[in-house]
Amino acid sequence: MEEKKILVLLRQMFAGEIKNVSTTLGDDVLVIDKEALLPLVKFLNNKPHEYNMLLDLTCVDYMGEEPRFEMVYHLFSLSQNKRIRIKARLREKDLSIASLTTIWKNANWLEREIFDLFGVHFEGHPDLRRIFMYDGFEGNPLRKDYPLRKRQPRIRLRK
């Protein structure tokens, strides 16, 4: 019942920004507008809900759909032993969302990973540069339109 309560509460507080609310396999799922991310996450992070751990932060490329990209945030409440999932769609032309580095330190590297592999820009990130791929690598390899056989070697290959 607790999980229902928080969804109802959030629906009241962020009426305009929350598009959809559901519960799958015991976890709450929120689909929101990207502008609402930072206030919503700040609200969830504080007492009494204490979703104070950022488990993961990732991105999905739905090529052919509009908006094309979807950011997914997994939060965990240590005091309640509960998870919540927040999803926000991003348009390809305006590929940016607020950074969570002000709230969680581990968002720094996670966001750099998404920037590297998908090309999403995080506003307010202190050090947004590639984390996996090397300098000089062109493109974002986890996008669906990255060519499957494209290779970008750093040194000249023998054959």
Binding site: Y134, P141, Y146, K150
Partner: protein, 165 residues
């Protein structure tokens, strides 16, 4: 009567010296383990007491490429790591041999993607390929014996017979 058809003495000595040098070299391989992935566990089991490559004269692990003459590339090599592997190979002193250990080093293996080098022979010359994901230590020993065979048979280079670059 058949005496004139024999090799002249100097050439006989050269051939025997070549043979002895090969024999000495194949039983004193100092190896450098370039371990990047899970194949390293099999490398450890092959190198340590369980399977003990010291029986074949390759027991001494040197953790400096300058002191070693057998490069074991154990595991996946990514495009990001490729210049490092090239540098390690260049730093090794002659004579040197390279073993590609495991499927990833041989051909890239299951990682047919943007990040992984499709076989280390696109970066450095390889003498022996050991397949397997990961290879059994017996396979590693077999590969080592193959390399020893190759070393014994090849034209040896030594000080006063330097390679012309």
């Amino acid at each position: 009567m058949g005496m004139k058809k024999h090799l002249p003495p100097a050439q006989f000595i050269t051939t025997q010296f070549n043979y002895i040098l090969g024999w000495a070299r194949k039983f004193s391989l100092f190896h450098y383990p370039f371990v990047t992935a899970c194949c390293g566990m099999e490398y450890m089991s092959a190198a340590c007491a369980h399977f003990d490559i010291d029986r074949f004269g390759a027991g001494w692990t040197r953790f400096s490429p300058r002191q070693s003459d057998m490069l074991l590339v154990v595991g996946t090599v990514t495009q990001k790591l490729a210049p490092v592997l090239r540098t390690v190979y260049d730093q090794m002193t002659e004579p040197k041999w390279v073993i590609a250990f495991g499927t990833c080093a041989v051909s890239g293996g299951i990682y047919d993607n943007y990040a992984v080098v499709q076989g280390i022979d696109t970066i450095i010359p390889v003498d022996v390929y050991i397949p397997g994901c990961p290879p059994r230590p017996e396979t590693v020993l077999d590969g080592l014996l193959k390399l020893q065979e190759k070393i014994q048979k090849q034209e040896q280079e030594w000080r006063w017979k330097k390679r012309k670059f």
